[in-house]
């Protein structure tokens, strides 16, 4: 493993106990330090299972038949407890309301919850809570009861509660699906900034326009298999439409223009690129 590899997945297969179908089939890939990797694929493709495997919930929380392995920062996830891995890799789930501990009365306590569990001293906790509150922009909410927050706010607190363990990798499993557009943007902005500050991000997302805009690389999954892992421009060149994966509208627009002989460049990934290419096409 090179110094810049933070996650290495090697021939990973997994079948949940009591199920006939393999949830993950022989996956191999690596994630580099500071990378923004998006995982896409239709429902049931195995995206969540992969996330669970990255943070070690597979195989410690879910039993089943596992082959191959995942190593995070050089440490095999098997044989390391999820709790211990929490300081290396953190996971944020879809439903914000299942991500609060239900044991705390204020946002600051909620943020500190993980630190309490690992027995951090109190002044260390206070320092980190203050720092994290700034990062996730909940400074004004610290004394509020987590249950009084909006979905977007809770999801930010959930990210904060994960970050407070100082993981260098953040895994987000459709963490904006249940939020409205504004809440979703709030959360996503934070993730983007964290990535800029050096945190490695692995994100499952259905919003293809966003994936195209933000990902360094895109991993396409279907039926438990890894179909491709490449830059968005390569992925959205039209090859993967048939695998139940949506294309960003901008890329489809580019493809349609090419078909009509109006465009000949690479896949279009952002609104700006699409507008410019479109304008150029009608300015002829």
């Amino acid at each position: 493993m090179s110094v810049d590899t933070v996650i290495e997945v090697k021939n990973l297969s997994f079948r949940y106990a009591g199920e006939r179908k393999q949830a993950l089939k022989d996956l191999s890939f690596t994630v580099g330090r500071g990378e923004f990797l998006c995982i896409i694929g239709p429902n049931g493709a195995g995206k969540s299972s992969l996330c669970n495997a990255l943070v070690g919930l597979i195989p410690s929380y879910f039993s089943g038949a596992k082959k191959g392995g995942v190593s995070v920062l050089g440490q095999d996830t098997e044989g390391t407890s999820v709790a211990n891995l929490a300081s290396k890799i953190g996971l944020v789930f879809q439903n914000p309301f299942n991500q609060i501990s239900y044991t705390t009365s204020t946002v600051e306590e909620e943020l500190a919850y993980g630190l309490c569990n690992i027995g951090a001293p109190r002044d260390e906790m206070r320092r980190r809570v203050k720092e994290i509150a700034e990062t996730i922009r909940v400074g004004g909410l610290l004394r509020k009861n987590p249950l009084e927050l909006s979905g977007g706010q809770i999801q930010r607190v959930a990210i904060g509660s994960t970050l407070i363990m100082r993981p260098s990798i953040l895994v987000l499993d459709e963490c904006t699906t249940q939020l409205d557009p504004l809440g979703s943007e709030e959360v996503f902005d934070i993730v983007k900034r964290l990535n800029k500050d050096g945190i490695t991000v692995v994100m499952v997302d259905h919003d293809m326009e966003r994936v195209a805009r933000c990902a360094d690389r895109v991993l396409v999954m279907n039926d438990g298999q890894l179909l491709a892992i490449d830059t968005p421009r390569a992925i959205f060149n039209g090859i993967f439409q048939s695998h139940g994966v949506d294309m960003p509208e901008y890329a489809r627009f580019g493809a349609a223009m090419s078909g009509a002989g109006m465009y000949g460049g690479p896949a279009l990934l952002t609104e700006r690129e699409a507008i410019n290419a479109g304008k150029a096409a009608i300015a002829v």
Binding site: V82, A83, N98, S101, T103, L115, R122, L147
Partner: protein
């Protein structure tokens, strides 16, 4: 985000957040209160003590700004249980010697009546105290206090989770009931319609609770819950004020006096002390 989630935000336990001296009090003092007063009254041979303590609890409820709710709780509980015990013990207790009233089919005996009132009094002290403790103490604080006193963190979580589960299920039921009425299940009307309406609600309630429990379990795990060989710390520091320390001592003294008196009273014939 769904309505279901909005509902979830309302309340998670029987705790009612009100700013009062009772609310601010260290949870351990309240636990001591419930146990010492309850056991003391149960041990004490005369029934007046329980009622004196119940009167004291009313004062506490007033200080906690909960007098109305507390009265309702006590009445709703005390009236039916007293009637029931009066009938059972008053009419049929084998200890009955002194007849208070003769109804023909049965006789009301003094001993049974006293026993009934004694039992009701003790129950009121326990339940009233417990009610006040849970309504005035944020569950998180309660568990922190218990963990400070040496409670295992998993047990602590269990306490909190059980405190949370009932109101949560109630909220889920409200949503599920809406979904069922929209499918033609009549929920208004006679008892039997209501009962029939209840059936379709059970399945989804249990299922969704199970799903929630699984996801929350995963969350806890990723937050380092249950990490081995580490003594968990807490974010909020709970300190006993000198007044609270004194209160704890008074409560323990109360318990000791009650128990000693009970022992003395029970041994009276042996010691040869007549009345």
């Amino acid at each position: 985000m769904s309505k279901q989630n909005k509902i979830k935000t309302k309340k998670t336990s029987s705790y009612i957040p009100l700013d009062s001296p009772i609310d601010r009090m260290h949870p351990m003092v309240k636990i001591y209160g419930v146990l010492c007063l309850g056991i003391g009254c149960a041990a004490f041979p005369f029934l007046w003590l329980s009622y004196a303590v119940v009167a004291f609890l009313f004062c506490v409820a007033w200080r906690a700004k909960l007098l109305g709710r507390f009265s309702k709780f006590i009445i709703a509980f005390a009236v039916p249980i007293t009637c029931m015990l009066l009938i059972i013990q008053g009419l049929y207790s084998p200890k009955n010697v002194t007849v208070l009233a003769d109804f023909g089919f049965a006789r009301l005996g003094l001993e049974g009546v006293v026993y009934a009132f004694k039992t009701v009094g003790t129950l009121l002290v326990f339940l009233g105290g417990f009610y006040l403790m849970t309504t005035t103490t944020y569950p998180g604080k309660l568990v922190t206090a218990m963990q400070d006193a040496g409670l295992n963190s998993k047990a602590g979580y269990l306490v909190l989770a059980s405190l949370n589960v009932v109101p949560q299920i109630q909220r889920r039921i409200a949503v599920i009931q809406e979904a069922q009425t929209a499918r033609g299940v009549e929920v208004e009307g006679t008892m039997s319609t209501r009962f029939k309406a209840f059936l379709p609600i059970i399945g989804p309630t249990v299922m969704s609770s199970l799903v929630d429990v699984q996801e929350r379990g995963m969350t806890l795990e990723t937050r380092g819950f249950g990490v081995k060989d580490v003594r968990p710390t807490s974010f909020v520091a709970l300190y006993l004020t000198p007044g609270e320390k004194a209160a704890k001592k008074v409560l323990v003294a109360f318990l000791i006096v009650c128990v000693l008196f009970a022992v003395f009273w029970a041994l009276r014939p042996v010691l040869g002390l007549g009345v």
